[in-house]
């Protein structure tokens, strides 16, 4: 077949597919109305990680803490959040009040020794919530386009703008307690930093990040995070260049969920209680749980990872170091997990 014949057939066949009219205008309206109603019904103010961070840095609850007399005085009011599924919203509505109260209590615990400690033998971890983070270099995370075959890491070695990187199999890199050498597994995940460039403005960082993303494509798809979330321009709090070379304000993170097996029915979903708690973390736009290992050959087959996406909003206090914002988000997710009875161990990577 010629290429034109391929495209003609692809087009013809696609157009011949008549999608079932599963939804009608009324259904879309109903869903929108339901969503809006749930959004409007906000029994407790949503927890903004920046607020939680500020509270944490103040040393937690004390007699002099205004929290003691005005439980939510420090919390930002709920803002318009991106749509989540109606199911998740409904779950959130049922469990929100109790969970938020518990989350607040959990976050009010003073953070003595807040450094990250990972590993199955340690207590649940909380990311460090430091008052300030040194501004560093843009960081990146890459995934091989073909995770089964992996990709060559030569591109990182050859890229002149890369200051440092490490690569391996995603399972090992994300494994708590350190990577286990697995020479037979494909190299399909990499993290690292671009060269630090003091005084560089946002546009320059964006250009560098975009060039890096393009340089390692198509074998690798990468996201580059600026060390700074820019508070000056609320409409573009980047530069954060994602795998499509698009500047976004999205941050992402992974949390270890050591005891997810408690709910065998939620293998691919989020535990309902955890979902409801996460729904109260304002700015958290997406999350999903993945198995840490389902193959049965590892030591912790029941463990899972929680992947989340967060929309940074300098207008809501998400300014300063990206690392710092992510630490706040991670702390909020940890608190939500603890409140839901599904402890999470969030870490920065």
């Amino acid at each position: 077949m010629t290429f034109d014949e391929w495209t003609t057939e692809a087009h013809r066949s696609l157009q011949a597919w008549n999608p079932e009219p599963a939804v009608r205008p009324a259904a879309a309206m109903a869903r929108s109305e339901a969503h809006r109603s749930l959004q409007a019904w906000n029994p407790e103010p949503a927890v903004r990680p920046a607020a939680a961070m500020a509270r944490s840095e103040a040393g937690g609850r004390s007699a002099a803490d205004p929290v003691a007399t005005s439980a939510y005085a420090e919390l930002a009011p709920a803002r318009g959040r991106p749509p989540a599924s109606t199911r998740r919203r409904l779950l959130a509505a049922v469990a929100a009040a109790a969970i938020v109260a518990a989350a607040l209590a959990a976050m009010a615990v003073p953070r003595a020794g807040t450094d990250v400690a990972v590993g199955p033998q340690t207590a649940p971890t909380r990311p460090a919530a430091r008052p300030s983070e040194a501004v560093g270099a843009p960081s990146f995370e890459c995934a091989a386009a073909d995770p089964e075959r992996g990709a060559s890491t030569d591109v990182f070695r050859d890229a002149t703008d890369v200051a440092g990187w490490r690569a391996g199999n995603v399972d090992d890199l994300l494994s708590p307690g350190g990577a286990q050498p697995s020479p037979n597994e494909p190299v399909n995940h990499a993290t690292g930093t671009l060269a630090e460039s003091p005084g560089e403005d946002r546009a320059e960082t964006t250009t560098r990040a975009a060039a890096f993303v393009a340089a390692v494509a198509p074998g690798w798809t990468c996201t580059v995070w600026s060390p700074e979330v820019d508070a000056a321009d609320r409409s573009r709090p980047g530069p954060i260049v994602d795998e499509h070379n698009v500047v976004t304000n999205r941050l992402g993170g992974m949390c270890f969920v050591p005891d997810a097996s408690a709910d065998p029915d939620s293998v691919w979903g989020v535990d309902p209680s955890l979902a409801a708690a996460l729904d109260q973390v304002d700015g958290l736009t997406a999350w999903n749980v993945i198995l840490a290992d389902g193959g049965g050959n590892r030591q912790d087959p029941g463990r899972r990872w929680l992947e989340f996406t967060f929309e940074a909003d300098p207008g809501a206090g998400d300014s300063g170091s990206t690392t710092r914002v992510l630490a706040a988000v991670s702390a909020a997710v940890d608190a939500a997990g603890a409140a839901a009875g599904v402890p999470t161990e969030c870490s920065l990577h």
Binding site: M1, W6, A28, S32, H244
Partner: protein, 199 residues
Amino acid sequence: MGGTGRGPLPPAGYEAFFAAQHAPLARLAYALTGSRSDAQDLAQEVLVRSFERWSTVGAYASPEAWARRVLVNLVYSRTRRRRTEAIGLQRLRPIAAPRDGTELSDAAEAFWAAVRTLPPRQAQAVALRYGADLPAVEVAQILDVDPGTVRAHLHAARARLSAVLHVDADDQPSPTAASATRNPPADPTGHAKEHDDDV
């Protein structure tokens, strides 16, 4: 709801927009996801968002272009989230995923499956160009890039697809074709049939 006497009526123009755009959006989503259920969900999500913003979207010169852009963005946000999920799935159940398809022909399924292996921008360009049958200029508007960039993506995509699909050797793109692109044919209907003009 609308038509039942319960709830608000659809705003002016929305119902017609819905009727006209549901199927094209679902088809575009299917081309990019290969999942009928995902395609339906994504189309519905776009239509819900359209409804919520209809006072603005409905005033656009091309609400359907806005909807396609939202759809493309939604598809790849979802894809990115599911990439890690897929890694876990492969370990959990190392078997081929059940086909969640349509009644597309085998050739069409093969073509779109190959498209989904392309880099995101190339896949988006191909789906909009050959799936939605849009001229390169409109594809460029939806993807917010220059038409020349779209043609470059299409050219690169064609080269890769030709290899995967075993396209006749004498129909392979020449390495210099991208620099010799022409404007798409003027077509008052907005439909372009001479696909090769873009690649």
